[in-house]
Symmetry: D2
Subunit: 284 residues, 4 copies
């Protein structure tokens, strides 16, 4: 079954759901999933609608235009439209650690994710051999303070030439420039190795050890120019105790990181995330 | 704000959501929440719809009749209608253990639950003093094999004379007759002190200890005539280890039981549960 | 069975465990539990030893003196000794919210905790009726900026006259003076309604909502003069989503708070906590 | 630092800990970790002792003999001795699913586990290409009802010729013969794709879906001749809801399975498991 997925956000008003569902129905679209959320604090309305395209009487290429010009304009909606038949293309940025990369490779190779992964970029040569094993191009692009801007240009050139839709920072350990983060808004997912906002920064497991917390976590989020402040997509935690030294926290943390990052990427690929300011609405 | 809550189930068909939302909108109802779920395996459609009654042009007393006669009939819907202004009345059945009862009393007294609790029934006198402290009628109705049927008649008489909507079995430890269970279908919530279907029966914590599991749980469910087999509403678990003796499992289990039972009751009171055969749809 | 519980901390050195266990054995003490932990980072050694006092050949009143003068002096140990036969006396400080108080009352009344609760202190009159129901003295001691020091003197006078061992701040919402916190070091347990160190301060659930986190938590800790910075005893978390408004976070948080606070108090009463600087060792 | 790890079990008696620790101390062994557990129900004593071998005055090759002949004999102890310097050799049995295998390969290749993986055995050819990528021998040994015994002989021949210490059944989907299970007692770890004892057998996720549970789990255990009944090493769970179809449970289950299996193997490799009848003691 091929479906269309429409994400909508606008101000809440009476009759939106009736009109949108009526509209899709009118053109012979059978709604498979509908989920909506109204934020009572802000008065914002969010909706995810998925319908079967079989027999839909509006042509695929004009669906978005037709909707936006009609209902979209009337209710001042921001919309995104995706098709289940399309296969997103992802690039992975890594540094020296391989745990997230392996998990991503598994999910792509096994077909769990409907995605293509033509490109791995790293500031270190260490994980080249893994890329080789999987027959994926590995670009070693070393970053220093002085060359960051030009090297990012090289990276972005690669992303464009490979028609990349989503960038996964799989423990990349480098801070992107504001310009990169802004240009790729809501299309770069990072994993932060702490339960944000606790312990932001570079050595959260050591900070967690110092503070003596009983639970550690990991956070995946879209990258924005404000470090560690982007919209949170997924978080998870695990129990620790006084028995755990920093190296144990790091080890337990890795299992969390790869799981939480992959969950976030999975949600993105299934078009289940709506970003609204600095927060996300996650459809189920 | 006074709202109406409509629960719907029927076979999935194209256009249901559009028609239902259009209908409510037509009579000036502003939809506050809409959640729907289609079970792809069975083809069943489930929906929970809540709308503001202010300005609704159909009179409260006829809303259900009007809906059922029109849309309901057309799509062969099973419906339930509730009003946020109504206050459900609950009775609690206990035996000798007080942990769930205290938790229930707290939630009623503090106003966390919109509910009235006029009645506690027990087969033992042990918890009378707690009822006294809270000024709630306590009926000691001892049950034996020989008198179960007539004592249940007394219990059910009490429930009816107090206009009880929901019965909470708060570790009641007695098995209801099939007749009682059937007459009060989907209106009796039990807490089972295990992670069903693991360890059904009377001494699950000892069984869990014997089997050496690493996690124990608790399960709240609607009571049906098949013991431990009713539709599951909520479950939760906690980690244990070889260090825990049966008495420790019992202690840890109590914290689970009261939490899981109260969660289930809370969901019922907010009309967020649809029962479908032996399963539940839990709206968020 | 009556037992002695000995908590030890000192620098790690070769032969400590052998010598301590040999010592207890020598005087006919049968070790029921032994748990030790060496912090490799700091080189600190921690131990909890529990032995059966039946037949122990050193008199109860001199056990600590005898140990401290011999082994304790030799290894420069800091020790605490407790007897399972003693019943700790606790006071509860509350403000307006009752969820933690109810949970504490249940645990004391049901005998889950071996503790006496002769005293509830509050800066508000709101929970008087609960105290009355349970026949516990309720002292309404209003606190303002100007009278804090003298009112604390009244509080501390009450604690002393009632021979209180442990103070539980059950959502007390007042900051104790440095002097109070220091004098009652490691004897005041607070519940903070967030997953510290995330969202310290007074309105953590609103902050969590604003930041859009996917998990919230609660933290119980010993009170020190540095607000929200005391040694953490227990933490737990629960999942939330975009569906949850601040009021939902507060409601879910309450279930966490009472559970986490009671867990911490339980651990304290069973003498399973060793405080070391700003961290805790929690024995199992 | 090279250490010796001694696992002990015997009946609990007064003075054991004192004598064992005194013994190690006598030969200049510095105890790094000591953990003991007495099962009050059965009266069994369990201990894990790790000490630094630097300067230990008993020769490595005779440590076990010396201990067993002296203290061991006296207290009727069952002992196991391991050296941190040794590298265990593991074989992985797979069928068609790759999620656990990838996770295992990552942990071996990245050095998270101190283990060698020279051998993958499967009844299907499907995962050959993964083995090739990692340069690991892949033996395709198809199993049918008629040839099971002779094919197992081939498998066991391979295990022996490769000096395998531990077999990991990474969703192998075949039942071993009683003889294989018995000969390799406590040296074969399986992952069962359910929260045992709930939903034993071959299609637990479908059963979980049918029953409408709200939580699913995975269980790793040592293989015994009683299917699904071996000593449980690790378990974990994840929340599900009515939204999840069987295929979603399978997907969520995979993430659990690989995590729980790897946790169990990690504990085994660190010699933190003592098997006692049908249960495990897991040291921390």
């Amino acid at each position: 079954m091929e479906t269309a997925i429409l994400l909508i956000q606008c101000k809440d008003q009476m009759g939106i759901i009736a009109e949108v569902t009526q509209y899709v129905h009118m053109y012979n679209g059978n709604i498979i999933n509908l989920e909506q959320h109204t934020d009572k604090e802000s008065g914002d309305f969010h909706m995810r609608l998925e319908w079967d395209l079989m027999g839909y009487t509006i042509e695929k290429a004009t669906i978005k235009f037709h909707f936006d010009q009609g209902i979209g304009k009337k209710w001042k909606m921001e919309t995104q439209l995706y098709f289940s038949a399309d296969t997103p293309r992802v690039a992975v940025f890594v540094s020296k650690m391989s745990h997230c990369l392996y998990d991503i490779l598994y999910r792509v190779q096994s077909g769990e994710w409907k995605a293509e992964l033509p490109l791995i970029i790293s500031n270190h040569p260490n994980l080249q051999s893994i890329a080789d094993r999987f027959g994926i191009a590995y670009h070693h692009i070393p970053i220093s303070k002085s060359n960051k801007q030009e090297q990012e240009a090289v990276q972005r050139e690669l992303l464009e030439s490979h028609n990349i839709d989503l960038v996964i920072l799989a423990r990349y350990m480098q801070i992107l420039t504001d310009d990169f983060a802004s240009s790729w808004k809501n299309r770069i997912i990072n994993i932060h190795h702490s339960f944000l906002p606790a312990f932001p920064g570079a050595r959260p497991y050591h900070s967690a050890y110092e503070r003596g917390v009983k639970i550690i976590g990991a956070t995946s989020h879209y990258v924005t120019k404000d470090l560690d402040e982007g919209p949170i997509i997924a978080q998870d935690v695990t129990r620790i105790s006084h028995v755990d030294a920093p190296k144990d926290l790091i080890k337990k943390g890795k299992d969390l990181e790869k799981l939480v990052l992959s969950r976030a990427v999975g949600l993105h690929l299934e078009r289940k995330i709506l970003v609204k300011g600095n927060k996300t609405v996650i459809f189920s």
